[in-house]
Symmetry: C2
Subunit: 391 residues, 2 copies
């Protein structure tokens, strides 16, 4: 196991009706004027925004509102949010939505107290200072509610890039599983896939002797394998939603990823797909991961055999571990298809002829110099082959 | 799953040589004059205290020292520590040791800023305010490095009681697995048992639909089952020590125990043993748990069958689940014996004739009114029978 530090000071309020304490939590964590940042109509029509506003009013906390965050959130709205916060003297950013809203909120929070262009943070600069952020989560997926990370797409060039820093870790996150019950099946499945991707990216490590984190990751994958189909079968299953919601947070606050190298090449490869086609990130991952895994499994056959046996219930082929490894990859892909995720470019809405462009932006865009590093280092030829495997 | 809040704002620095950053962390978390609280000779003879002192000096942070914490830490030394801190103007308590040292440090930290007798907190009063506490952990066991809890024994009457409050949650904890390599096998095994007890106490729940936390608990139990014997076989196995150390923290920071009722009757029943006989807490738990489990398993046979299958590798007897349940309890006890833990009163140094006294203090001492609540409510007759099963 490698040396590490771990710090996860987010306060979580989990369960039914917890959004009614929003005002108290904003106060406790130092907010005196709030930006409520949200997405589209559902937060309004469901009555969620009304309840959040009522809770702030009850505590006498003034607020301004900015909606319109889209999946794969864009830099344009971030600039708008920064402007608004500066003009209105906002000192607390409250995200009401899923990962996209939270990531957009984090970008605004960092941008408000920064003298330069906020995009600097998405070009490699670490975020050291930001307004405090709170979240009310409506989709179990991104894990952004407990993470120091944010991903934003820059409209010029459609670059999708990430930024990080403890300053943007939410001060509090309100997790009410009931709020996720209205999600359509496809979005629920994309969220499930995203959570499993966060686990697989951590599982694919070159670090040795990491049994405790291996076991924790497997535990969360097993949870998703069990609860995922229950949510697809019955969107109103509060209990299954609750199990997924906590698993989604634990999958990405890094308590199961400490002390080990991680992968994240599937995320990199997928980001170009959702940036270009505006598909759901989880749907892109469902197509990307099996291809990446089949491309790299020979790098550590036993690791793939382990997840096949421990998570997917495969019998170990002790004479041919690679058979078990491939069986596990197939089982994972079958699972993703069974919950309604696409399995190839066509189902995703991606085009074979775009592959050179995808590879170019992936490997050369935004400061990269021709390859991705992770579990295995992948150059342009590797990435081309991987995209081709998805066709 | 039940509603819950979760807040774990401890900063963890994990790995080799991390104690050399002690001074920086004390400074970062606001300490300007430190009490170094420790146990006996080993912290001195190993050179650990020298390294900690050097690190504080490097940052120009003055300190006073108080050693002498014993296993099952006593109220007498806590009063002494409180006095010392007040006289010397200490504003930060640094624990260098295992759970006993950390618990004593937490009691001192709470007592210094409290007007009354610190024992009030161990008689049910919640700790709302305390000096900041930091820890340098030398034994993987109690989980106190990441918890808001402390257990102290009052010398008059030998009451062993717990206190809680976010204020005593460590601001930082330094976890260097190498520091645990000098532990004798018996103490290592007692630590392993304590960690597994923290997991079992959470596993024994009456809450329904808690798959994610069930799986996380099982993951940590599986880790202990795998790494425990490796540490007993080779005390210098850094990697096995590292896996156990992180599992020990995760077992008790409650991320795997949220949203569910918990048990803790095994801890209650054991506390009287270590209070009366001054045995290692883990050794007492090794004798207590199998008896408690055999006494209560019929309350939820399927839960005991589940841990038997998922952790202990038992085959499910679908016609007679109770057979599997009992097989799992036996496997757990066999495991504890295999790492050198006692299996009955005699091996522990406890006496059958003391049972009435143990039950009296357990069920009537310190405000209790005749029974323990948890997975199953246990009255004096139940507790008598359970102690008798340990003979």
């Amino acid at each position: 196991m490698e040396n590490f530090t771990f710090y996860s000071p987010t306060f979580f309020a989990f369960g039914k009706d917890t959004e009614q304490q929003t005002g108290e939590y904003v106060k406790r964590f130092g907010g005196s004027k709030v930006l409520i940042h949200y997405g589209g109509k559902s937060a309004k029509s469901s009555g969620l925004l009304d309840r959040v506003e009522a809770s702030l009013k009850k505590e006498g906390i003034p607020y301004v509102m900015l909606g319109g965050v889209k999946p794969n959130p864009r830099s344009g709205l971030v600039y708008e949010g920064i402007e608004l916060c500066k003009n209105e003297g906002v000192d607390f950013v409250l995200a009401v939505g899923g990962g996209s809203v939270i990531d957009s909120s984090k970008a605004i929070a960092a941008g408000v107290v920064y003298d330069g262009d906020f995009w600097d943070f998405y070009s490699g600069k670490r975020i050291e200072k930001a307004l405090p952020v709170g979240t009310i989560l409506t989709i179990a997926a991104a894990g952004s509610e407990g993470s120091p990370d944010s991903v934003i797409t820059k409209e010029e060039g459609m670059f999708k890039r990430g930024a990080s820093g403890d300053a943007i870790r939410p001060k509090f996150s309100i997790l009410n599983p009931a709020l996720t019950q209205t999600l359509p099946a496809y979005q629920s499945a994309a969220g499930i896939t995203d959570i499993m991707a966060h686990l697989y990216e951590r599982y694919l490590t070159n670090s040795k002797e990491v049994e405790v984190t291996d076991r924790l990751i497997e535990a969360l994958l097993l949870t998703m394998k069990h609860e995922g189909p229950r949510v697809i079968a019955d969107p109103n299953n509060y209990e299954a939603r609750a199990n997924i919601m906590w698993a989604g947070m634990m999958a990405h606050n890094n308590s199961c990823g400490v002390g080990r190298s991680q992968d994240w090449t599937s995320h990199d490869i997928e980001h170009e797909l959702s940036a270009l086609y505006d598909c759901a990130h989880g749907a892109g991952l469902a197509v990307t991961m099996p291809a990446v895994h089949r491309y790299v499994y020979k790098h550590d056959v036993m690791r793939f055999a382990k997840v096949a046996v421990r998570v997917w219930g495969c019998q170990m082929d002790f004479d041919h571990p690679e058979v078990t490894a491939l069986e596990g990859i197939a089982a994972f892909q079958n699972f993703l298809c069974s919950i309604g995720m696409p399995k190839n470019f066509e189902e995703l809405g991606a085009k074979k002829e775009d592959i050179p462009k995808l590879v170019e932006v992936l490997c050369r865009g935004n400061g990269r110099e021709g390859s991705l590093t992770g579990f295995v280092t992948l150059d342009e030829e590797d990435c081309t082959k991987i995209y081709e495997m998805m066709v």
